[in-house]
């Protein structure tokens, strides 16, 4: 389908009858997904918001249940977020990130109803990347600037208009009968293919990660780990800004006879991450914690799900306070040397 740019504001406003609509926004040098300003049609077109859209499906902090002690027993309430959402302008790497969260939170032996409720109520409208940046490396991880995995619609900027690829029933339902859309012609799809070729041409050369898993299977005790983490200061910039990192922590916020059970993001970089109640910590220093990050993403996740849990969005590279570049780390591990 095709939609003129001038009609986008009307289309997005129309969605508000049924959905909350989230768009990428940049202000004061900072970008994230926020609710649409009705009537404006505004959304930021730069690549990769600083904060990924992850928190819209897997919030940084959420109440799972609350309780209140009464004279006759306990009153319990579970808290589901049932808002119907459209996430507009999602980049292919972030959509792929959601697919990895899906694997974790909808596996056979662990059904996370909090996540699933949000996921089922969410429609993802993607925006293809015409000008990948130098930190984009999605093509090294099975994705690409026009990749469709996880998306319900993919929009491609043709200048005055967008070409819209319909990818899933949820996406089809969203635009069905909407007067803003007209069928696309063969010339439009030809233009899309050319833009895709152009975008791929701008990507940095693909990293060869084929030997990585095998190296990680063997190098748990290698000296490479002694050096590769050395400048890491153990913050959570990389994991919190990663669209695939999903470790969480539970805590209780209690006030007198009532309280909340709260789930928040956790990070393998923190000393608290696997601290046992006894005081023992199997990952006592930054070395073990950094190794865990790499092992989880590039070895354990592969064993569990057949894919590496990195989508190549480059956020951890851009925002790490000490420029610990994961591409560099992977190269060193594959080469078996520390720089």
């Amino acid at each position: 389908m095709i939609i003129r740019k001038a009609a986008v504001a009307k289309f997005l406003d129309g969605l508000l009858k049924e959905y909350a609509v989230y768009i990428p926004r940049r202000r004061e040098g900072y970008s994230e997904y926020t609710p649409l300003d009705p009537g404006s049609g505004y959304f930021w077109q730069g690549l990769n918001t600083q904060k990924p859209p992850k928190e819209l499906l897997f919030p940084h902090g959420e109440t799972l249940y609350s309780y209140r002690l009464r004279s006759d027993g306990v009153e319990l309430r579970t808290h589901f977020d049932e808002e119907k959402r459209v996430l507009f302008g999602i980049r292919p790497c972030d959509a792929k990130g959601f697919c990895y969260l899906d694997r974790v939170f909808t596996r056979q032996d662990y059904q996370d109803v909090y996540y699933q409720t949000r996921r089922n109520n969410t429609v993802l409208i993607g925006l293809a990347c015409l000008a990948p940046t130098t930190t984009c490396f999605c093509t090294s991880l099975g994705g690409g600037p026009f990749d469709t995995e996880g998306l319900d619609l993919l929009w491609v900027d043709l200048g005055e208009r967008y070409a819209v690829r319909v990818l899933a029933p949820k996406g089809e339902a969203l635009i069905k009968g909407r007067p803003e859309f007209v069928p696309a012609g063969e010339a439009d799809w030809q233009a899309v293919r050319e833009l895709e070729g152009g975008a791929l041409g701008k990507m940095a050369p693909v990293l060869d990660l084929s030997g990585l898993k095998k190296r990680l299977d063997e190098n748990y005790s290698d000296s490479v780990w002694d050096r590769v983490f050395e400048k890491c200061i153990g913050c959570a910039a990389c994991t919190y800004l990663c669209p695939t990192c999903h470790c969480f922590d539970l805590s209780y916020e209690v006030e007198g006879s009532q309280g909340l059970c709260v789930r928040t993001w956790d990070s393998c970089a923190f000393p608290l991450f696997t601290l046992h109640a006894s005081g023992h910590n199997p990952r006592p220093t930054g070395k073990e914690r950094f190794r865990q990050r790499v092992m989880h993403k590039f070895r354990y996740f592969v064993e569990n799900w057949g894919v590496m849990s990195c989508v190549g969005c480059g956020r951890c590279i851009i925002h790490c306070p000490v420029n610990l570049d994961i591409r560099d780390v992977l190269r060193q591990i594959i080469a078996g040397v520390s720089a």
Binding site: G29, H60, E230, K231, C235, V262, L324
Partner: protein, 310 residues
């Protein structure tokens, strides 16, 4: 720099030099750990050396270290010496006179958020380029707020000084004075906006050499002082708590603000406390290891203007 580090390693004065090397992105250097003379050849120093390496000192207990410090970094080391966190004879201080550190965020604003794909340091500043643009930027246009009025660019303490001493700049708390002059509602709104951004990644705390508590109050679970979720009020609690723990200690190196991945304006709070320490008590942290610490010293002549009727 390279020569000095090389010599220290060759002569076995130290077995590890912590300095800076070029990073993997334009505008970036990164902490670098040199253990051999050959590795020392990768060291660099320039206005993009934004990290404060003193933090790493606390991690090594066996090595004899060489450590590269700018003026403000040296002051944070002085505070650590004063607080008995570091043994003076374990570290060989390689001081570099500093004329200011570039704030990458200001550069990004100057190029309207476009991607910078290449950058070069020049005598006057930097040249940045990207798709369809090239821009010549003077260091002074993009200096970190802390550096604009830095009086201590030449390290106050060192074993080897690499380069010529630099002139002290004139103290400049213009940013804080302007902020103090705003009506309370505007100040509150500003902090609310900044605190709402914080994702509680603790990069600011973790890069700060003076945040060395084995258990930070934010990590305590019994009692749990604040919510683990990044709600604005809890974020504020964290930052106020941290700022107070740094009152009279913070040396205005700005490393925390540069480390923040989402650009929270941390120096408003820190520099206000620095200015207060100066105005109220005539105190500046990190000038001399023998200097008593501000908050553990009682002086009957201390001003008490903040006490009701005082």
């Amino acid at each position: 720099m390279r020569q000095a580090a090389r010599r220290l390693l060759e002569e076995n004065t130290v077995n590890l030099v912590i300095g800076y090397a070029w990073g993997t992105l334009p505008l970036r250097t990164a902490p670098f750990f040199a253990r051999t003379p050959a590795e020392a050849d990768r060291l660099v120093y320039n206005s993009l050396c934004e990290n404060n390496l003193v933090k790493y000192l606390l991690r090594y207990s066996k090595e004899k270290l060489g450590l590269v410090v700018k003026g403000c970094d040296a002051r944070s080391l002085v505070v650590l010496l004063r607080e008995n966190q570091v043994q003076r004879d374990r570290v060989h201080i390689i001081g570099v006179p500093c004329t200011g550190v570039i704030d990458r965020r200001k550069v990004m604003e100057l190029v309207d958020g476009q991607e910078v794909t290449g950058a070069e340091v020049t005598v006057e500043g930097i040249v940045v380029r990207g798709e369809g643009f090239e821009k010549d930027i003077k260091t002074d246009e993009v200096l970190c707020v802390s550096c604009r009025g830095c009086k201590y660019g030449t390290p106050v303490l060192y074993d080897t000084l690499v380069g010529e001493e630099v002139r002290a700049r004139e103290e400049n708390f213009g940013d804080i004075r302007a902020f103090e002059a705003l009506p309370p509602s505007e100040r509150e709104a500003y902090f609310a906006q900044e605190m709402a951004k914080c994702i509680r990644c603790y990069a600011c705390r973790n890069v700060c050499p003076l945040c060395y508590c084995t258990e930070c109050f934010v990590d305590s679970s019994r009692p749990q002082w604040l919510s683990r979720r990044p709600a604005t009020a809890d974020n504020f609690f964290f930052h106020l708590g941290r700022a107070y723990h740094l009152a009279g200690r913070c040396v205005d190196c700005g490393a925390c603000a540069r480390a923040c991945p989402v650009g929270v304006d941390l120096m408003k709070l820190n520099r206000k406390l620095i200015k207060d320490a100066k105005d109220l008590f005539g105190y500046e942290a990190g000038l001399d290891p023998g200097q008593p610490s501000l908050l553990s010293t009682f002086d009957p002549n201390d001003p008490e203007r903040f006490i009701l009727g005082g």
